[in-house]
Each structure stands twice: as structure tokens, then as C-alpha cells.
Amino acid sequence: METVTRSAFHPEVESYEQVNRDAMRLLTPPGRGYVALLGMSVALVGLLVFAELHNVLYGLGMIGDNWAVMITTFVFWVGIGHAGTLISAILYLFRAPWRQAIYRFAEAMTVFAVLTAALFPLLHIGRPWFFYWLLPLPSQRQIWPNFRSPLLWDVFAVTTYLTVSSVFFFIGLIPDIAAARDAATTPLRKRIYGVLSLGWRGTDREWRHFTRAYLFLAALATPLVLSVHSVVSWDFAVSIVPGWHTTIFAPYFVAGAILSGVAMVVTLMVPVHKIFRLGAYFTPVHYDRLAKLLLLTSIIVGYAYGMEYFMAWYSGELYERDVFWDRVTGDYWWAGWSMITFNAFVPQLLWIKKIRQNLNAFFIISVFVNIGMWYERFVIIVPSLTHSYEPWKFWNFHMTWVDAGLLLGSFGWFFMWFLLFLRTLPGLSMAEIKEVLPPPMRHPEHHAHDQADAVRETLPTGYDEREVR
């Protein structure tokens, strides 16, 4: 007699084998739609290369003043990365069972977003081949980089973040690549996955050290991710430009990063869900939790916006007040109001259960937040710089085609990596989804106490989780 127990989170997943079958469906040869999307991404990368070639050949003259778009886009992409680490590392430490099905996508997004962000510091220096001047190496006169400068902190923070999140991503992939190797049908695939899996077989020795190492990597990645956007915010906050010189910047940036990152997770998840029919894995519970995360960070960001205005007024400082007034009434009022509307107000729609449950609505909200969060960085950078202390120093920002090329190209670059990942590496973490499934038992009743309580968490969502699929 065999009783089948179902996971509360994945009631439609019957067995361990089914997880593998479904995850392997992602690795089947792609169709035309995929090739078209990939082609578009590669074309945008071409635009990026073309724009950068212009910079290399003719200098940075065609970059809008103060690298505004490059810095905005850098901060935007670093921020996007944060939600992936939140889901993969912080929620791992919290033992949140809804993390397992979505974390691989989120983490891939992190790695590629940071990879995209890392382009901009390199390109904005004008001669990217001298990037090693950023590293802690002495110049020919034995002068070292300035360790008291936030820009060097940024180098350390972003390179550490890129390294650690890539390592964390790859380590988590090993058991799943081994599963892909064992399921591979062609000798070439078997060979490639065989090499990438590093000979993993899932022995007790491997798991024993793997689980511990994974825990410690998560524990290290958690403070790291909080530090990275804090350091990015200090690039601004340590200077004395009005609108930048505030202590709220670090938590404000981290909350904003998670807001934008969760929005990007949803923007990527919904199409993947629909195209690959992953309803059994991306359940309404997952979207519900993501919606709440989005709502929470949106409220924090909204609070930070309000607090900035309060402090500008309360400080009594003329320049500070002027810059903040200028943000909503000056030349860039449209950017200022887009930021406030898209980040603080639009996500409030998620309080309504009907909207939270509706994938299309949630997807549209997430796209708005993505746009709003790009504007947030734009609003922090451009209006403050164009409108700082002396009126004779005021200037106007104009986006050039090189700026636009780099911005669009960064999306192409990001989506190119993401699309390649989707069809070549396991996007669902098979080993970790199995952790929240009830293990196959011959005599379930005898081992009732053995079955991890993690799988039996009651769902506080308040609606039937099968409704929306």
C-alpha cells in the first residue's frame, strides 16, 4: 500500500522524478520565439558595442554630462541583483520553503545583473583597458589607490559581490548539473554537464559538506548584499552635493534595491511561468509572498522619499530645500513624479487580493516599478547635479544617442545572458525543490515524525491556491 503525501507548496508535484522531468523540459532544444528573443538581445548588445566603440574612438564627449546615464544605469543594475541574493541567501537562512522553486531564476538574475552593472564603471572611465588602475595596485610612482575614497570601496564591494554571488550560484548548481548529466540523451551534453558537475554523485560525503558550505555561503552573502548597496549609496552620501548628503541613503538604497530586484524577478518569472507552464512550481503562494515583499519595500521606499523631504525642510538648509523642491517642480518634474508614482503609489495596488493574484496585473505593476526605479536613480543623480549650490553652475541634461545606446544595450546584454542560462543550465533547483517535498516513504505512518515540518506549513494566503493557475 502506498500513500502519496503532497507538499503544501507544490500540491501538483507527485514525486522526485517529476521534478527532474519538469526541470529538464527547460533544457530541450529551443523554438523560434526563443531564437528571435535571443537575436534581439544580441542585436542590442551590438548597439552597446557600437556606442562604446564611439566612446573609444572619439572620447567621452558624446556621453551626457557627468556620466549621468551610465551612473544611473550602474546603480539600477546593481540594485536589480539584490533581490536574487535576498531570495537565495537571506530566505535560505530564514528557512522559507517558498524560496526553493524560484531561487535559481532569481540568483541567475543577480549574477547577470551584476555582470551588467560591472560594465558601466569600466566603460565610464573612457579607456576601459586601464581598468586595472582601479585595483589595489601601485602606480609607477608607487602611489596606491585611495582607500579612504568611496569609489575604491565600490570597487571592493562590487567585485566581491560579483565573485561571491557567482560562486554561490555555481555551487548551488552542481547537484542539478549532475542531474542534467544523468538525464542527458546526447553524448556531447553528457560530456559537458559531466565536466561542469565536477563529478558530483550525491554521496553522503558530498552532501554532508555541501549543505554546511552552502549554509555558510548564505550566511556570508547576507551581510554582503546589505553592504553592497550601502557602499553604492555612500558614493553619493559621502560627498556634499545637496540631495545626496544624508544618512538615510544606505537603508534607503538597500530597500530600493530589493524593491527593484523583486520587480525584475516577477518581470522574468511571469513569462517563464507561462511559456514553460511551470504552474506546479511557481504557485500563487510564491507570487503572494513576492507581492508582499514588493509591498513592504515599496512602503520603506515611500517612507524614505517622505523623510527626505521632511529633512530638507527641517534642516532649514536653503540648497537642500531648493534641490528637493526642484525635483518635483523643476525641469525634471516628470522624472521626479514618475519615481514617486511608480515606486511608492503603484505597488500599493497589491494590497488588493484580486490584483495580487492576477499574474498579468502583477507583471504590469512590476514593469512600472522597474521603470520607476531607473527614474529614482536618475532623479538622485541628475537634478542634484544640475541644480547644486551656485546658480551659474546650473546646467541641463540631454541624453545623447550614445547614452541611449548604452542603456538599451545593457538590457540586451542582461537578457542575452539570461536567455542563454534558461536553455543551458537547470533553471529549477531540482535538489532543493525536493527538500520541501515529502520524501517517498513505503510506510509513511511509521515515520510521521520524520517528515520535516517544513513541508506542512499551513498557508496563510486565505484563498484556494489552485484558483489562479
Binding site: 522526485y16 522524478e17 527532474n20 589595489p136 601601485p138 610612482r141 602611489i143 585611495n146 582607500f147 579612504r148 575614497s149 575604491l152 570601496w153 571592493f156 564591494a157 566581491t160 565573485t163 561571491v164 560562486v167 555551487i171 552542481i174 549532475a178 542531474a179 544523468d182 538525464a183 565536477l198 563529478g199 558530483w200 554523485r201 550525491g202 554521496t203 553522503d204 560525503r205 558530498e206 559538506h209 555541501f210 549543505t211 554546511r212 558550505a213 555558510f216 555561503l217 556570508l220 552573502a221 551581510p223 554582503l224 553592504s227 557602499v231 531540482m430 535538489a431 532543493e432 525536493k434 527538500e435 520524501p439 517517498p440 516513504m441 513505503r442 510506510h443 511509521h446 515515520h447 520535516a452
Partner: protein, 172 residues
């Protein structure tokens, strides 16, 4: 203590039967290599696994990182003392960022080193147990008992009684 290169592999579609086999085989004094598609604490309990020493790698790596970050920033600043922005040559509040980031970096990398060394990854050469089945990364649990040829019969009996669906014998 190297394990015997011969033995018997039992394929178990259920977790409870696999742990039952592990317990009985351990009582009989066999050394085991257990395959599982996902880490299960039941397997660890049946095997009596001790805490992994990876944590020592993490600790040592992280502290080395703190020291290295401090040393790099301090030494480089002293190498050509240059006052910038009226700050101290050794400005600890500013250096704390460097110290923190290098702590995390080396802590994480040495954790991976610990995993690779202790877990014997990447696996090259002869694997720990000579027999394997591709279903172990999918849905089945596997118990390989390292046994001399004359005890194959005992192992096979225990595996089948515990509920193994397929018992494979190393024929070499």
C-alpha cells in the same frame, strides 16, 4: 581509512527503506556510501554523520580576510603617506569597508575550498564507490555497502529484506 573497492549496491525508491538498510548494514559492520537526490537528515541520522568541519575553513578564511584587508589598506596608505581630504593616513572608519569586503570574499572562497577538499570535488580518478546509478540524482536513494566478495550474500539479503527494488553486485 580507505573503503573496500568491492561491494553491493542497493537501489531504494523509498527513504524509509533506505534508512532501514543503512541501520542494519551498519550494525553488521559494513562501511557505506549512500547516494541521495537531495540532502535528507534521516540519512545523516542513520549514518551517524558528525558535523562537517567546513565551518573551520569559513572561520579561518574570514579572519584571514579581515587581517588581509586591514593590512592592505594600512600598509598601502603608509607606503606613500598622502593626506587626502584632511583624513587620517590610517582612517579606520573608511578602511572598515575594505576590511569587511575582504572578510566576506576570503571567507566565501575558503568555504568553497573547504567543500572541495573535504567533499573531494572536483572528482577525478576512481570514485569512492565503484557503482552508481543515474536515478540517484532523480528519485532513488542508493546504498553501496563496501564488502568483500564472500559477504555479498549477506548484504544482498539485508538489502532485499529492507526493501531494495534492485540489488546490483560488483562483478569485477
Amino acid at each position: 581509512m580507505s573503503k573496500l573497492r568491492t561491494g553491493v549496491l542497493g537501489v531504494f525508491p523509498h527513504l524509509d527503506t533506505a534508512t532501514a538498510a543503512i541501520r542494519r548494514l551498519r550494525q553488521e559492520g559494513f562501511q557505506l556510501t549512500v547516494y541521495s537526490p537531495t540532502p535528507r537528515h534521516e540519512v545523516e541520522e542513520a549514518l551517524g554523520t558528525k558535523e562537517s568541519p567546513v565551518r573551520i575553513f569559513t572561520l579561518v578564511g574570514a579572519f584571514t580576510g579581515t587581517a588581509a584587508g586591514t593590512a592592505l589598506a594600512t600598509w598601502a596608505s603608509l607606503d606613500w603617506p598622502l593626506v587626502v581630504g584632511g583624513k587620517e593616513i590610517i582612517a579606520l572608519p573608511a578602511f572598515s569597508v575594505i576590511m569587511f569586503e575582504v572578510t566576506i570574499l576570503l571567507g566565501a572562497l575558503s568555504t568553497v575550498a573547504g567543500l572541495f577538499i573535504l567533499g573531494r570535488i572536483p572528482h577525478v580518478g576512481q570514485p569512492e564507490a565503484p557503482m552508481y546509478h543515474p536515478s540517484f540524482t532523480s528519485g532513488n536513494f542508493g546504498v553501496f555497502a563496501h564488502a568483500p566478495r564472500d559477504r555479498y550474500g549477506d548484504v544482498q539479503r539485508i538489502m532485499t529484506e529492507s526493501g531494495s527494488e534492485e540489488v546490483l553486485v560488483d562483478q569485477r
